[in-house]
């Protein structure tokens, strides 16, 4: 009983208190907000640990159950292990290849050490970040460009009036985003600006209002205990 009632009571109390708090500029009210935000930041930190657990658990099950693509999960474990070991021992490479003290060693020897290890400045983790994570992430993101080109060829068809309007808007935006648009016709950047600031803004604003109203109603449902999905379980 208390397992379900207590979270509902906390959600109700916190919801009501912080709706009222927003309208009270007194220092006590502001201190309360600071204190609670500090807790939120701590909970945010803990959620990172939960994220790590979830990631490891998922990939462990992929390997354990021999699911298709389990090899990628193994690579994930391997990469995770390397990052953790290097992260917790920032001078790991220094242990393997001791960094010469510049005061006692020659500048050439220091230079040679950097050449061997591939490190210029920063830690070993910094090296992984610069030479591993950054280019790999950029590659993944860049691939989208190729799929957009292929999708544009297949999907942008003037099948109806709506589709034609969408197609024309896309063409004007793409041309207007580059100097080529202005070179072809000086009116193209103006058309692009009009599309973005008039029909686009009107549509986006309607969507934003919809989202805001939905968020308010959902928050009220949580505060008053109508929405209980966040508690987990079947009921």
């Amino acid at each position: 009983m208390i397992k379900r009632q207590l979270p509902l009571l906390i959600a109700f109390a916190m919801g009501v208190i912080f709706i009222i708090q927003f309208f009270i500029p007194h220092q006590i009210s502001q201190d309360l907000l600071t204190w609670v935000n500090k807790w939120l930041m701590i909970i945010g930190g803990i959620s990172l640990l939960l994220g790590i657990y979830s990631l490891l658990n998922f990939h462990y099950l992929q390997i354990f159950r021999n699911k298709p693509g389990w090899g990628f999960s193994l690579i994930m474990f391997f990469s995770f292990l390397i990052s953790v070991v290097v992260g917790f021992t920032p001078s790991l490479i220094n242990v393997i290849l001791p960094l010469p003290e510049s005061s006692v060693q020659s500048a050439e020897q220091v230079k040679e050490w950097y050449r061997i290890t591939g490190l210029k400045d920063g830690s070993s983790l910094d090296w992984i970040f610069r030479h591993g994570i950054t280019p790999l992430s950029a590659t993944m993101f860049s691939i989208i460009g190729f799929f957009i080109a292929s999708a544009a060829f297949r999907a942008f068809r003037a099948r109806s009036l709506e589709a034609t309007l969408l197609l024309l808007a896309a063409v004007f935006i793409m041309l207007g985003q580059t100097p080529l648009g202005g070179m072809l016709w000086s009116g193209i950047p103006d058309i692009m600006t009009w599309i973005l600031s008039t029909p686009n803004t009107a549509a986006k604003r309607a969507i934003l209002f919809g989202i805001a109203m939905g968020s308010i109603s959902f928050s009220l449902k949580i505060i008053f205990g109508i929405e209980r999905a966040y508690l987990g379980g079947k009921n």
Partner: protein, 274 residues
């Protein structure tokens, strides 16, 4: 069944064309001359920074990770160089991810070397703190409470760059450069609590999302993708990587438009044949 292998070939032809449209302009970059362009939304950010007196404190929130680095780093560099030249005091922070801290350190150090600025004196880099909106709300109460130490583990209270600053309300300007929803968070919490002018930078595909905030005055300006970064480089008179990258981007945009036209010709020809 018969169209499947045909489509597979067409797809690979398109991929090859895109690859060539990127590689060739990079190789013959010097031969391609593109005119300078300027849009009001980008110019507004430049004008706002220009209007700030030397020594004004500003926040630069770097809310992107390595996947968007190539698109957002050029605009971050251009803005940083501009604010350093204007002798503004910069607080670098992130609410996005721990990876953003690594990028921020690299970008700030590079820009500071170019403009001869010192860590702790002209700028400070804050470490990543989880919590997103909670971090911004805490900044609106007390910066030193939120960030007792900078990313180099120095006590923030002792840093000359933070002298006379206590909360977000002391900021003269804030700019969020984001690849996610961090701009929305800054508008809702940062702008609301700090009341300072707010500018935003984002990837090109996200720019359309923020036009309502420009019209309502919640954002002073907006920079979307490489195109905006190239415009900013032109405004500060320091043409760099963004200006260079506009060349392949222009060619790829043209290619996509040609592909759309060809796709429609094929579609209507097939429809006429029934």
């Amino acid at each position: 069944m018969t169209s499947e292998p045909k489509f597979h070939i067409i797809r690979w032809v398109i991929f090859a064309l895109v690859a060539l449209a990127i590689i060739i302009p990079v190789i013959v970059s010097e031969k391609i001359k593109l005119p300078d362009t300027s849009s009001r939304v980008v110019k507004n950010i430049y004008d706002k920074i220009e209007s700030l007196p030397a020594g004004s404190p500003i926040i630069l929130s770097i809310d992107f990770d390595p996947s968007s680095d190539e698109e957002l780093r050029p605009m971050t560099m251009a803005i940083l160089r501009h604010v350093f030249r204007k002798k503004l005091r910069v607080i670098g922070m992130t609410i996005w991810s721990p990876q953003s801290s690594g990028l921020m350190g690299d970008i700030f150090t590079t820009a500071a070397k170019m403009e001869n600025k010192q860590d702790g004196l002209d700028y400070v880099i804050m470490p990543f703190k989880p919590g997103g909106s909670s971090v911004i709300l805490n900044l609106s109460q007390d910066i030193f409470f939120t960030y007792p130490k900078d990313y180099k583990d120095k006590s923030t209270k002792e840093l000359p760059v933070l002298k006379g600053i206590r909360t977000l309300k002391d900021m003269k300007y804030a700019m969020c450069i984001s690849a996610g929803n961090a701009v929305d968070v800054w508008i809702v919490y940062g702008k609301e609590k700090g009341k300072m002018p707010l500018g935003a930078g984002c990837t090109a595909v996200m720019a359309t999302d923020y036009y309502p905030y420009l019209q309502s005055g919640q954002l002073v300006g907006l920079m979307g993708g490489i195109g905006a970064a190239a415009q900013y480089e032109s405004l500060i008179g320091e043409k760099g990587i963004a200006t260079e990258r506009m060349k392949p981007q222009t060619v790829v945009h043209s290619l996509i438009i040609i592909l759309i036209v060809v796709g429609n010709i094929v579609y209507f020809t097939r429809r006429r044949k029934g």
